[in-house]
Symmetry: C2
């Protein structure tokens, strides 16, 4: 699908058709495409919890203002943003440093420089949170577009109690939960509401130098 069409046709869908499934292959495909998103130092501090069973959907709905789209959509992803995802010793961080070394982005004697850089850029509570959320949001945006490109619809949700979700799904404290994304097919027996306004170019540009 054309990129601009994908951007234009992606809408936050409120009504999913519960009779139209999302296969494991479809889900794997959109997650793999979204994984091409960039991240700071390529650290990819994102994971997802896949909510598919009726029991899990009901638990999630109870922690998310009882939004029925969680029941109707075949899948909802709980997006996890790893605030530890820049720390030495973390398996994914070690894998990233090893890969940067392999590919020549990092020289053998630069490991300390990369570690110190990550500490400086991300090593406060505020900075770790911003690091994790920013990169998980790059992944999430790419995922919503990849879903549209695969003929699926999505809905990014903020309306949930993060501590209730954490408890219900036993999510470790190093993960911030920036959003949930419901994925499925638009229920064409319901009405698609008109698109909401967007800022003009002049409203987006704060200043030019």
């Amino acid at each position: 699908m054309d990129f601009t069409d994908t951007m234009r046709q992606r809408r936050a869908i409120n009504f999913f058709d519960p009779d139209k499934p999302v296969s494991d292959e479809e889900l794997k495909g959109i997650i793999e495409t979204a994984s091409l998103a960039p991240s700071g130092l390529n650290l990819q501090p994102w994971q997802v919890i896949v909510v598919r069973s009726q029991e899990a959907k009901e638990k999630l709905m109870a922690a998310a203002s009882r939004q029925t789209k969680i029941i109707e959509a075949p899948v909802t992803l709980i997006i996890l943003a790893d605030m530890n995802g820049w720390k030495a010793g973390h398996p994914m961080v070690e894998k990233t440093w090893a890969n940067l070394l392999d590919l020549g982005y990092m020289k053998p004697d630069q490991r300390g420089w990369f570690e110190k850089g990550a500490q400086k850029l991300y090593g406060t509570q505020e900075k770790s949170l911003a690091f994790a959320v920013k990169n998980a949001a790059f992944f999430s945006m790419a995922l919503m577009l990849a879903a549209k490109d695969a003929g699926l619809d999505s809905h990014p949700m903020d309306g949930f109690d993060p501590e209730a979700v954490r408890k219900a799904f036993d999510i470790p404290e190093n993960f911030f939960i920036p959003l949930l994304i419901a994925i499925g097919h638009f229920n064409d027996r319901s009405m698609l509401m008109p698109p909401k306004w967007r800022k003009s170019y002049g409203e987006v540009v704060h200043a030019t130098f």
Copy 2:
């Protein structure tokens, strides 16, 4: 351009061709496409500072570990994430509430419900930061893809001193600065490094329920 190709061909480019400009029309086009990104309650808490002049580039480079790509790229955007972008009285928030009312997303007596909802979801320092960064990152991801689709390259940068950037460009305290994005054309006299690793599907999925 095909969506999947756009995802695959977007790379963080280290060397920009200083002789290949980015027109104002091109920049406007990619910002307008990126503005189609979703946001919590459609609040769009993002803005950009456009850095184009030699003087401004030098100021920005001085605050960004002297990364020469800032000089070489025709444009670098300072991405701003508005931590106040959910508060009643903010012009863009008021515009959003008015639009939701116009389109029927909000009933005339629901304004208080929306205000209280935003307060509950975003009304702590941590939550305001996550709200602003998440949505500004949706916009940024869309913008990097829109650039690729328009035949341009980009580079998202974390390596800068946010307080030095704030001071140099007189950025108000309500804005967190999640990243800079350099935009231009790849310098084909330099070598494009091989793509870095990405997590497999199994590494992205934390759990399935």
